[in-house]
């Protein structure tokens, strides 16, 4: 069942893309702020995971610590730099955060060198699982489950908690949210840090499967940006369906039309935008 295996591979990529793109998307929806260095946070999640795994000799220590460290790094980055360009034009945001990509790349190369690292998968998920007579790595199934679990947690958080209601109100109508006394700035900071933490989580979770090297962030950043565009910025549902579509299209594209593999997701993006110029599930706005 080659199809089924590819489906699982696609879902696994979709899970990682979801972790990465949901922060990017909600931050953009809330504040019209574009952080191109989001992929760099993914890369540092992976590297810090490698460091933590080595220091504590445990995958799980890395799994829980790296996202926290990346979130703290994101908070510092925001306080020092990004806060000042938040209200600037998109072009300035793009240029500054694009610059951060290069800085991140060089920092990673200086600290860890250019050779790839990896984290050993945890013992629990080290083996394979029999699926329809095929052996599939258990860790990859864990990645899919992780994506689903984070999605469920975010859904409940957004729909059921007060901070979730504030986030939704802020995405929906920032001016009115402020007029009601909601400190949108603080809500934004919280969401930004959460998004950074999830990018770090994606990085450390990817480390046993993908090689960790300077520049590992670029291919997945581009996929994550396409997810935001296809899914429609600002919504959890958009990030979810966008990740599924892009993850599956990229995986199946490489199998079904290998000669056009690089173009498959762009064709998908073009097709979606022709039908729905604002993406599949954009956050609701009044106008």
């Amino acid at each position: 069942m080659v199809f089924l295996i590819q489906l699982l591979n696609g879902l696994q990529l979709a899970a990682l893309l979801f972790l990465l793109s949901v922060g990017l998307s909600v931050v953009f929806g809330l504040m019209r702020f574009i952080n191109l260095a989001h992929g760099t946070l993914f890369m540092f999640g992976a590297y810090l995971g490698v460091a933590c795994a080595a220091a504590f000799d445990s995958f799980w220590a890395a799994f829980f610590l790296a996202p926290l460290l990346v979130a703290a790094g994101g908070a510092a980055l925001y306080g020092i730099l990004l806060r000042h360009i938040r209200r600037k034009s998109p072009m300035q945001q793009v240029l500054v955060t694009f610059g951060l990509i290069f800085i991140g790349f060089d920092v990673a190369r200086m600290v860890w060198g250019r050779f790839p690292y990896s984290i050993a998968e945890p013992a629990v998920f080290a083996g394979g699982v029999q699926i329809f007579g095929q052996v599939y790595p258990a860790y990859r199934l864990f990645l899919i489950a992780l994506g689903i679990a984070v999605m469920a947690a975010l859904y409940l958080g957004l729909e059921k908690t007060r901070i979730g209601a504030m986030v939704r109100a802020g995405v929906d109508n920032r001016r009115m949210a402020a007029a009601l006394g909601i400190n949108v700035e603080r809500v934004f900071f919280f969401v930004f840090c959460l998004g950074c933490g999830l990018a770090g989580l994606a990085g450390v979770a990817a480390a046993p499967v993908f090689p960790v090297f300077p520049g590992m962030d670029m291919p997945i950043l581009i996929l994550a940006l396409i997810v935001v565009v296809v899914g429609g910025p600002g919504s959890l549902k958009g990030a979810m369906f966008g990740s599924l579509l892009v993850g599956l299209a990229d995986t199946f594209g490489q199998v079904v039309f290998p000669e056009f593999a690089a173009a498959t997701i762009y064709a998908l993006m073009a097709a979606v935008l022709m039908v729905r110029p604002t993406g599949l599930f954009p956050a609701a706005t009044v106008h």
Binding site: K160, M176, L180, I182, N183
Partner: protein
């Protein structure tokens, strides 16, 4: 109780608000009129903190609000509605109101807990929807309301905060006569101690509702007084009512 002193605002070489002072007592119904471009909405933006004044100050209960942003002013008791509909379009009428109520009750302090399940918040939201005349549409998404109902809900949202001062920017603009009547009715039933500042183009509405009127012209106060005085003033008639 609510006071603005010498507010000024320029955009480049264009002085939009040129030293406007205004004081409103609790329970006062204060109308602001003036021709297009007189600086009325900019003046409101200076009061609410949406725009930063170049000079002057805004005080609530004698406390200078300084440079505090709109959300801090809202928490200090300053409610406002906008000239264009401002609602949480993706949420239902009741959810919109529940957000404002939860905000007033400071329920967000414990942010990880739920609030929509809290019956007292939702009961109040439904009650307020009824009193706004939107009871039948309590579970309709705000985006699907008529223009008039949206404005009613928007005023209702601000009222749910129990503000001390309410700023309404053209509450009846673009409305049918029935919708205008509904808004007038809503304004008449505002809590008595609330101080109201309202910008309005419909002279019938403003002369009917206001106890005091300030006429703005070219960013300055042209005249201030009771509705009858303003209506009788030759200067205002010439400049604004077009009855020179």
């Amino acid at each position: 109780m609510f006071e603005a002193r010498g507010l000024k605002k320029s955009y480049g070489a264009l002085a939009v608000v040129r030293g406007v002072s205004l004081s409103v007592a609790a329970g006062e119904r204060h109308g602001i009129i003036g021709p297009n471009g007189a600086g009325k909405t900019t003046f409101f933006n200076l009061l609410s903190g949406e725009a930063a004044a170049d000079a002057g100050e805004v005080c609530m209960d004698g406390i200078n609000l300084g440079k505090s942003p709109p959300d801090a002013r809202a928490r200090a008791g300053l409610g406002r509605s906008f000239q264009h509909n401002s609602l949480f379009a993706g949420l239902t009428v009741a959810e919109n109101l529940a957000i404002a109520i939860a905000q007033r009750k400071k329920l967000y302090k414990i942010f990880w807990r739920g609030f929509l399940s809290r019956t007292e918040v939702f009961a109040e939201a439904l009650d307020r929807a009824h009193r706004l005349g939107l009871g039948a549409q309590a579970h309709t998404r705000a985006a699907h309301l008529s223009h008039g109902a949206m404005r009613q809900l928007e005023i209702g949202l601000t009222l749910a905060l129990r503000p001390k001062v309410l700023l309404l920017d053209e509450p009846t603009s673009g409305m049918s006569p029935e919708e205008t009547a509904a808004i007038k009715n809503l304004i008449r039933r505002l809590p008595e101690e609330l101080a109201l500042l309202v910008i309005e183009h419909d002279m019938d509405v403003i002369f009917d509702l206001a106890s005091h009127i300030t006429v703005l012209d070219y960013g300055e106060v042209l005249m201030r007084g009771a509705p009858a005085e303003v209506r009788a003033s030759p200067a205002v008639r010439a400049r604004y009512l077009g009855m020179g």
